[in-house]
């Protein structure tokens, strides 16, 4: 018979090993030696307890971990993260039988990590059923049957975008006042946007062209997030990773809350000294985000690195990375693009060619040109929803980007060259007209225009 002290000691050890194993699988690839070592430790801890109990039941009750009816208060205090993760999966108890082998533990931990990477919310709870294996049984909170989500329509997306900009302003304020942006508000907003990016990416991305110029700071946050998620989604990324990347992009400039407003909003060119202060925002952003609980690890990394370029240029000075990670690169592209195409009080929007030239700067060594190409293909030089002037003087709305030639989208002509609105708008495929070498037809976009000046809502055409 095992004495109480020994049992408590073994149980405590088991919980710590369990926590370390699942934390390891969350942080490292399943083949990483650290993961293997932790799992071996877990197997050893289980063996020690299994010598006395045929089955070990780990329960989660009101924020406490219970091992075979013994509350592990001390362990619970340091295993808050583990309890939170169990909670996220709806796990109430885990029963591990004596016959469990290291391989089965490895599979369990691997699957645990995979499910967390792929799912979230109720989907994660539902997916937790997959954790069951012959000698490891997971008791879960059962879920009601989920009603399939409806596809988001244009008005929903428009409302969503507007809410996102509002939330961005709240995040900005909370970061400015408390140095801690409201992580849960940010998460909820990103969940919403990520879902829209998955279901109706183009329409959402088109919305980024419709910014309210008075709210540049907040619309820029939201736009960069959408444009970054759009690119990530195009690479097949989905689930929690997509949301992490989106959140990171949303927060990429949060360090600017510490930049003096006279510098942040200065209409003229910054002096060298002012520019030095401005550049601090990457460090400030990383510090703010790294010090905010519940913000995923990628966010401070992207905030810190988003002005670094793959050829080693950029800032913060003295910081080098042998390779930039994908989230940083995607966010960097979206950031430059959105900043340049935005019209602000003191800055006219740059023509798309100019933006592309910046993205191809230094012989294309600053940005990964494969990603730039994908971005241009995805968005077009003139993205869907853009109001543009054609070479004929007509004003049209971009309807569809032709991936093979992003310079020549399909447009719907709304205003004639003399400025009169057409009763019956007509569509033109610019890539077709240029192929037919028609001089009398519009074949090129000359410049983007502000839809507000024409009193139209581009979204209603998409």
């Amino acid at each position: 018979m095992i004495d109480a002290t020994t049992r408590a000691h073994l149980s405590d050890d088991l919980i710590r090993r369990f926590g370390a194993s699942l934390r390891g699988i969350q942080l490292y690839s399943s083949s990483h030696p650290i993961v293997a070592r932790n799992l071996e430790g877990l197997a050893e801890a289980l063996r020690a307890l299994h010598a006395h109990e045929a089955s070990i039941v780990i329960g989660i009750v009101g924020g406490e971990l219970i091992v075979c009816d013994l509350p592990m208060t001390k362990a619970s205090a340091s295993m808050g993260e583990l309890i939170r993760r169990f909670g996220a999966m709806g796990i109430e108890r885990i029963t591990i039988d004596r016959q469990v082998a290291l391989d089965e533990l490895r599979r369990f931990a691997g699957r645990f990590g995979q499910l967390e990477k792929k799912h979230s919310g109720d989907a994660l709870k539902e997916a937790a059923a997959q954790l069951d294996s012959p000698n490891i049984r997971v008791g879960r909170v059962t879920l009601e049957e989920q009603v399939p989500e409806e596809k988001t329509d244009a008005s929903t997306i428009r409302r969503m975008y507007s809410e996102a900009v509002s939330v961005a302003s709240l995040l900005w304020e909370s970061a400015r006042i408390d140095s801690k942006p409201d992580a849960s508000a940010a998460q909820s907003m990103i969940d919403m946007l990520a879902q829209a990016v998955v279901h109706n990416r183009s329409a959402l991305m088109a919305l980024t062209a419709l910014k309210d110029y008075d709210d540049y700071t907040f619309t820029h946050m939201v736009n960069v997030s959408i444009l970054t998620m759009g690119q990530a989604r195009g690479l097949g990324i989905e689930g929690p990773l997509l949301r992490e990347i989106g959140l990171a992009a949303l927060m990429h400039d949060i360090g600017k809350v510490k930049t003096p407003s006279e510098i942040l909003n200065k209409p003229d060119k910054l002096t060298a000294e002012e520019f030095t202060i401005m550049k601090r925002h990457v460090v400030d952003g990383a510090e703010i985000l790294r010090g905010t609980p519940e913000i995923p690890a990628l966010a401070p990394i992207v905030a810190f690195e988003h002005h670094l370029r793959i050829d080693g240029t950029g800032y913060p000075y003295g910081v080098t990375r042998p390779h930039l990670n994908l989230a940083t690169m995607l966010c960097g592209i979206a950031d430059v693009y959105d900043a340049m195409r935005s019209q602000r009080k003191y800055q006219q929007a740059f023509p798309s060619e100019r933006i592309l030239a910046v993205l191809q700067l230094n012989d294309g060594k600053q940005f990964d040109q494969h990603l730039v190409r994908r971005f241009v293909q995805l968005l077009g030089i003139y993205p869907v929803g853009n109001l543009v002037r054609l070479n004929t003087g007509e004003v049209a709305i971009v309807l569809q980007v032709h991936a093979a030639d992003p310079y020549r989208p399909k447009v719907r002509v709304l205003f004639a060259a003399d400025g009169i609105r057409l009763d019956l708008p007509r569509d033109i495929n610019l890539w077709e007209t240029v192929q037919d070498a028609r001089d009398d037809l519009a074949s090129t976009v000359v410049a983007p225009l502000n839809p507000a000046e024409y009193g139209i809502d581009p979204l209603s055409f998409i």
Binding site: Q130, E287, V384
Partner: protein, 731 residues
């Protein structure tokens, strides 16, 4: 749920979950096999998952899955809920012409590789290799049975029922496989009924994933086959068949119709003639319907419609009549109710009749909408990034890489943050991160961060206070728990890293280590804790001083243990004070420690404690001494015999020391015992006799020749009292 399965029975929750699980696993595994090189760990992982899923789905025996284009059926029942993975897996299997899939049991993961390799091939490759059935048979695997889709069978089965157009179309699209007579007869039946042919055409138009050219080829091939068969078997029926087909042509989109006409161009065979023959049988009503349908759908005349209209109705006079009929149909639609319809129609008719490669080249609004929604997919389709490149990008935000970047970020922040106050702010996440790294056993990372804190704490810069505070927070947090857990089990290399880490954190962890050491049972762990503590040198001893003064007896015992481990006479004063401890356990530990020192000075301290202590202390110390009957204690027992006043209250201690020397067979103590044997006081005969008996007993237990010699000599020529003692022992 697809429309086809509307009336099917539904699986229960559990079966749905198992089927979905299998579908997901199958999809992931197929994707992994197609994307990664054979040795990639992702493949192994996905195979294991697939095997698990198959084990679950076949838990009650063999399972046969029916494959329809967008769903998997189990026992003829459809899943309870639609699921993307089920849809995609069904599409994948269906695309490979798999109609039924029977799972027998769960083999080892490698058994699934041949099947997944087949799925990784394109349909063309599979077909070129003789079809999926043949490829699978060649693998020799038995855990899986597949039944290939036979469209002739399908047509036969579905004769008289609403046909599954997508299957028929697929059969038509399969240009390498001739349509057999039975299939053709079924198609003739379709063409014999205008309504059914129209349905077929609509289905063909709506079938995704196929280019317009392929659709046109499929339609043409079908028509050729039907016409050939009818001309051979029932020529009288030819005209009605062609008219039905012509009527169906009216429901085609301008795109498909133009594609048919383009296919026709440049060909001199019967096929070219066939399209024209059909087109020539399109009535004005059909043509008007064709135009009206498209104008209503597109909100006007688009280029493709104009091209098609002009090709189908080359005669200007006839165009006017057809357009009039079309106008009447459009006028009855909502478009006809809009203001300016008259002008609109005028413009439309003008375009349709006078267009010649001019202004308006556009698609429909509806298609715009769908185009926008599918735009991203198109982008993915045109990209030429190889899977390896995409894999590399995605890997760069994988868990391990992000972990490394997180560490790099903190190291950078600690290095480049120049403001002392903000630097202090950075130390908070740094400390948390170190704790996290220790939890999972990433000692390298923990050491890198701690090195910077240690360096700043050792310096004199303005970061020093923050660094010192950070290290103190680290020492007070959960770090020590993690260190202790690891020290119990890690290999020597990792233990060395932990030792290095602990020393960088600083002496504030000595207390925690000492606590852990006190409760540790495993020798290897005790040794590691001790090594770390010893590495702290003077700082370690300072910590021991604190422990020694603790109100907790267990902690005081730990202090003694450490004093023992530190060793040397320097520890003696501390140990000496603990000999007077109120707790017997502590006193016993102190005795052990003093014994470990083993010097005369140490024994003198023990004697002092024995001489000056209370009765309880004396009893405890004596008991402790006797309990430690090992050779290391012999000098102390000798010391007691030599130095202790055996007449006073320590007589019992003396007796136990003598007894212990005997029990330990202390050969070197024979001379001392011989002296003791002859010692005695005449005025205290009983006490002297008791002591001599004890000494004689001890010598007898030692039993060496020298001890025997002493006893014999004493028995023979010793004083009376000595002889009596010897006799008493020998008897």
């Amino acid at each position: 749920m697809s429309t086809q399965e509307k009336d099917l029975p539904l699986l229960d929750q559990d079966s749905t979950a198992r089927l979905t699980d299998f579908a997901r696993a199958c999809k992931v595994a197929a994707r992994a096999v197609s994307l990664y090189p054979p040795t990639h760990p992702a493949i192994r992982l996905s195979l294991v998952r697939l095997v698990d899923a198959v084990a679950r789905i076949t838990a009650k025996g063999t399972v046969t899955l029916g494959v329809v284009p967008d769903n998997l059926l189990m026992g003829g029942a459809a899943p309870l809920r639609p699921d993307q993975a089920v849809r995609e897996t069904a599409a994948l299997l269906h695309d490979h012409m798999i109609g039924l899939l029977t799972l027998h049991s769960s083999p080892d993961p490698d058994g699934w590789l041949p099947f997944l390799n087949i799925l990784a091939k394109s349909f063309d490759e599979v077909r070129a290799s003789g079809g999926v059935g043949r490829l699978w048979s060649a693998t020799g695997q038995r855990h899986l049975e597949l039944q290939e889709i036979d469209y002739a069978d399908i047509l036969r089965e579905r004769e008289g029922i609403a046909a599954q157009w997508d299957d028929i179309i697929r059969a038509c699209l399969n240009l390498d496989s001739p349509l057999d007579d039975k299939s053709l007869r079924a198609l003739v039946e379709v063409c014999g009924n205008a309504e059914r042919f129209t349905e077929f055409v609509l289905a063909l138009e709506q079938s995704g994933e196929t280019s317009m050219g392929s659709k046109a080829s499929a339609l043409l091939r079908m028509l050729r086959g039907v016409v050939d068969l009818v001309s051979r078997t029932d020529p009288a029926r030819m005209e009605s068949v062609l008219r039905n087909v012509a009527e169906g042509f009216g429901t085609l989109s301008p795109d498909l119709l133009l594609e048919l006409l383009a296919t026709d161009q440049g060909r001199a065979d019967k096929a070219a003639d066939l399209v024209l023959q059909v087109a020539s049988r399109m009535t004005d009503e059909t043509l008007a319907g064709f135009v009206a349908k498209d104008v209503i759908a597109q909100g006007g005349a688009v280029t493709r419609l104009t091209h098609a209209f002009q090709a189908l109705v080359p005669e200007p006079d006839r165009r006017h009549g057809v357009l009039e009929m079309a106008r009447a149909q459009v006028a009855e639609s909502p478009l006809g109710e809009t203001a300016g319809f008259v002008d609109f129609w005028k413009d439309t008719a003008n375009k349709l009749t006078s267009y010649s490669d001019e202004r308006y080249v556009s698609e429909s609004y509806a298609r715009n909408l769908s185009g926008v929604r599918t735009q991203a997919l198109e982008v993915e389709r045109v990209t030429d990034d190889p899977p390896e490149r995409i894999g590399g990008w995605v890997t760069s935000v994988g868990a391990t890489e992000v972990r490394a970047l997180e560490l790099r970020l903190l190291l950078d922040l600690l290095t480049i943050e120049s403001d002392a106050e903000r630097w202090q702010g950075v130390t908070f996440p740094v400390v948390s991160h170190i704790e996290d790294l220790l939890l999972v056993g990433d000692f390298d990372g923990a050491i890198q961060l701690t090195t910077i804190l240690n360096s700043e704490a050792s310096g004199e810069g303005d970061r020093k206070p923050a660094a010192v505070a950070a290290l103190a927070r680290l020492a007070e947090g959960v770090m020590m728990t993690h260190v202790v857990t690891h020290l119990r089990s890690v290999d020597e290399e990792s233990a060395e890293q932990l030792r290095k880490f602990c020393h960088m954190v600083g002496s504030s962890i000595v207390g925690g280590l000492a606590e852990a050491l006190a409760g540790e049972k495993r020798a290897i762990a005790r040794q590691r804790f001790t090594q770390i503590l010893l590495g702290f040198g003077a700082a370690g001893k300072t910590a021991v001083e604190r422990l020694r003064a603790s109100a907790n007896p267990a902690v005081r015992r730990t202090a003694i243990y450490l004093l023992r481990e530190f060793g040397g006479s320097d520890a003696l004063p501390d140990l000496t004070t603990l000999l007077d401890d109120t707790e017997p356990h502590v006193q016993r530990e102190a005795v052990r420690a003093i014994l470990a020192i083993g010097t005369e000075e140490a024994y003198a301290e023990l004697q002092r404690a024995l001489a000056t202590g209370t009765n309880q202390t004396r009893e405890v110390l004596t008991t402790a001494l006797v309990a430690m009957r090992n050779e290391r204690a012999i000098p102390l027992f000798e010391y007691i015999v030599r130095k202790i006043d055996r007449k006073g209250p320590l007589r019992s201690v003396y007796l136990r020391a003598v007894e212990s020397l005997g029990a330990l067979k202390a050969e070197g103590s024979v001379g001392l015992l011989e002296d003791a044997l002859y010692s005695g006081e005449w005025w205290s005969p009983f006490r002297t006799a008791e002591l001599r008996r004890a000494v004689a007993t001890a010598l007898s237990r030692i039993g060496t020749p020298e001890a025997e010699r002493v006893l014999q000599e004493a028995a023979k020529s010793g004083p009376r009292g000595v002889r009596a003692a010897i006799r008493a022992v020998q008897s």
